[in-house]
Symmetry: C2
């Protein structure tokens, strides 16, 4: 089987490497040899081993009936979108790690693929190297998924793990940039936008409708500090950038934001650049899939798994329709909150404690400050609680309000 | 597609339930309706909704060309083995949760299945409800698996979690029996034999050869006590019944035994009846698959996933050959150990501490006792260390020597 690779960056070159390193295994399981016929890239690779395969002409690939699979590893959703569409229209399968492309244009691309009798597969687009989309899709097959949540951005998780171990946000970000885990402009990662696209893909699969990621409430991790971690720990939690999706009868709940996670929860053990996805199915119960969310070889391996699926004619439908999913307004979500507030003095705190009702924690390093957990409540109910707190004599400031992840 | 269910116990009846509850989803993804034609069981189910499907005659199933899939949910490896073989020989696919059957007879059954052009699938046999065998097999497809370890017996894990929280072994076992997590004779579970069979299946798949579980060193959890947990915690670890397999150039290392697990390791968060499998692949890196290891609906869901795979003609080979795998002798394994020893008095301890070299921990509740971690060493090296310790003046007893799990 002949394939073409569009974009010879980290993932594209990784795919070539994995196909070469594991050639005999792959050939055996695919039932045929998989050969790269074209590599398309803007750059020249003079003197490189793959040089003879390089082309700058997509038309040559598009019009070559020998090419059965196109790997789209250019990224973004403009050129990548155009080439992917053209590849599918010319009867070629597409394998891609491109979450922006799938999150935004998935429904349309699946429709074209179906019409042409080909597949567009995207295992590598969510949780890079973790076997995720396939088992998740299989679970959706025989079960009703009620919740999908997780830690899906390695950059942010690395930063927050460093912070949990005592590093400041600024230094942790700098470390991440030096190690290549974060971009010069890290906003897509730390702003939770990357994680949000991945949640949109998972929810779209779950409800078989297009979930538009721009409609998902997204909050970044840039404001988090050591005081947040200290109080979270005192309450028995850690802090993570979490995507949190619930499938209800009339729509989906969706958030991408910082959350407190109970220290005993398996998601709390997902650290550094690792990702973890927690899925609750009605008959399967709770499962978690954990592994490298990114990285050249894990991500490339996921793309190669999809190529082999196609070669072995082993693809179950993994798509959604263009019907628009109903994203329920966040004002209706019932979540526990962790509230941290500061006061003028100990007396002011004593007075407000009885109003709070819940057990509060305080720490020597942060005088005149208390934190506590609210019951499950809506945003409006939390706002009411804050109003009551603010009216107490000696009230200084609401330091932080953060959602708490409680597995149901 | 017509199927037969052999054995209408927990899993068998669970399969019928899942097929009914999720009928429309299943029909859609399988591309055809899946209908139970026969249910075979020794018992009568007079008055039950499935009564009209009951039979006691395997020959009727065997000779019915309409039946394409047989669910073997009788258990054990005598009758189940005979019926499975006959089903495959008569050109029927088999789906089973039976680990004893697959661990012992897998190679032979795969061979018969291949000859007849059918499949025998066993997703539910390891880690019941966790999507495990399929993603694991997919990973083996494109990657080289170097290690497979995990917590694969929910009964033992439940007991050990209770003990971690302060319950005695005896009371935890009693609780487990009352909750139906443990048998009257719990030896298969707490002796680590059940977990061992599952490791044999995982390793057989990894090396494509028959790993005989009777050759795997198996140690139970029956001797573990609260002192073990207290010292493990002081050292930064918890205690789990772990299966630990490593694939080397010349064979496999395999153990099913109690291990200390670092508290920060994701396996340490796998508690109660949950299972977790940790796989390290050369290109994929580390992944963990977590979920319910047992339970009616999760296990039945896994069987149904296999039935749908067959109905949708979506099965990649998931087998191994009858070549015998080489299980390396445990004497060659390099593991860290946690040693706990008691002495006559504090002076005796001071003297031995300098010989030990490593940092030792002691606890007020257990006077004159210290624990420490050795470096990576073989059993012979550890035996030598113990000999040196025993010769010290004031030495009382070696309380415990336990292996330490250190992800490489």
């Amino acid at each position: 089987m002949k394939i073409a690779i569009l974009g010879f960056g980290v993932v594209g070159s990784g795919v070539a490497e994995v196909l070469k390193t594991n050639k005999s295994q792959i050939t055996k399981k695919a039932g045929q040899e998989i050969e790269i016929k074209y590599i398309m890239d803007l750059r020249d690779f003079a003197g490189e081993p793959f040089e003879h395969l390089m082309t700058k002409d997509f038309g040559a690939i598009e019009n070559d009936p020998e090419v059965e699979v196109v790997v789209e590893s250019i990224g973004g959703d403009t050129i990548a979108y155009e080439y992917t569409k053209r590849a599918l229209l010319s009867g070629k399968n597409v394998c891609t790690p491109n979450k922006a492309l799938i999150a935004k244009h998935g429904a349309e691309l699946f429709s074209i693929a179906k019409e042409r009798g080909v597949h567009i597969l995207f295992e590598a687009s969510v949780g890079g190297g973790i076997p995720l989309i396939r088992p998740y899709n299989d679970a959706l097959l025989t079960d009703e998924v009620e919740e999908v949540s997780g830690i899906l951005n390695g950059t942010s998780n690395y930063i927050l793990t460093q912070m949990m171990n005592g590093t400041s946000y600024e230094n942790a970000l700098k470390d991440a940039q030096e190690l290549g885990y974060a971009e010069q402009d890290p906003t897509a990662d730390v702003g939770s936008f990357d994680a949000c696209r991945k949640l949109a893909i998972m929810l779209s699969l779950a409800v078989n409708k297009q979930v538009n990621y721009e409609e998902i409430k997204t909050e970044g991790i840039q404001e988090i500090n050591s005081e947040d971690f200290a109080f979270a720990k005192a309450l028995g939690f850690t802090l993570k950038q979490l995507v949190n999706g619930s499938i209800r009868k009339n729509g989906v709940e969706a958030l991408a934001a910082p959350f407190l996670i109970p220290l005993s929860h398996p998601l709390a053990s997902v650290n550094d650049v690792f990702n973890g996805v927690w899925v609750r199915g009605k008959t399967t119960g709770n499962i978690m899939l954990y592994g490298s969310g990114a990285g050249k070889l894990p991500t490339a391996s996921a793309v190669v798994t999809n190529i082999v699926d196609i070669a072995a004619a082993n693809c179950l439908p993994c798509t959604w329709t263009s019907d628009k999913a109903n994203i329920l307004p966040t004002s209706t979500y019932a979540k526990r909150k962790a509230i941290r507030a500061s006061f003028e003095n100990a007396n002011a705190i004593s007075a407000v404690k009885s109003a709070i009702g819940a057990e509060t924690v305080s720490l020597p390093d942060y005088p005149n400050t208390i934190a506590w957990l609210t019951p499950l409540e809506t945003e409006a109910q939390t706002a009411q609680t804050l109003e009551v707190i603010k009216r107490f004599p000696g009230f200084k400031s609401i330091e932080r309000v953060m959602r708490v992840y409680n597995a149901e």
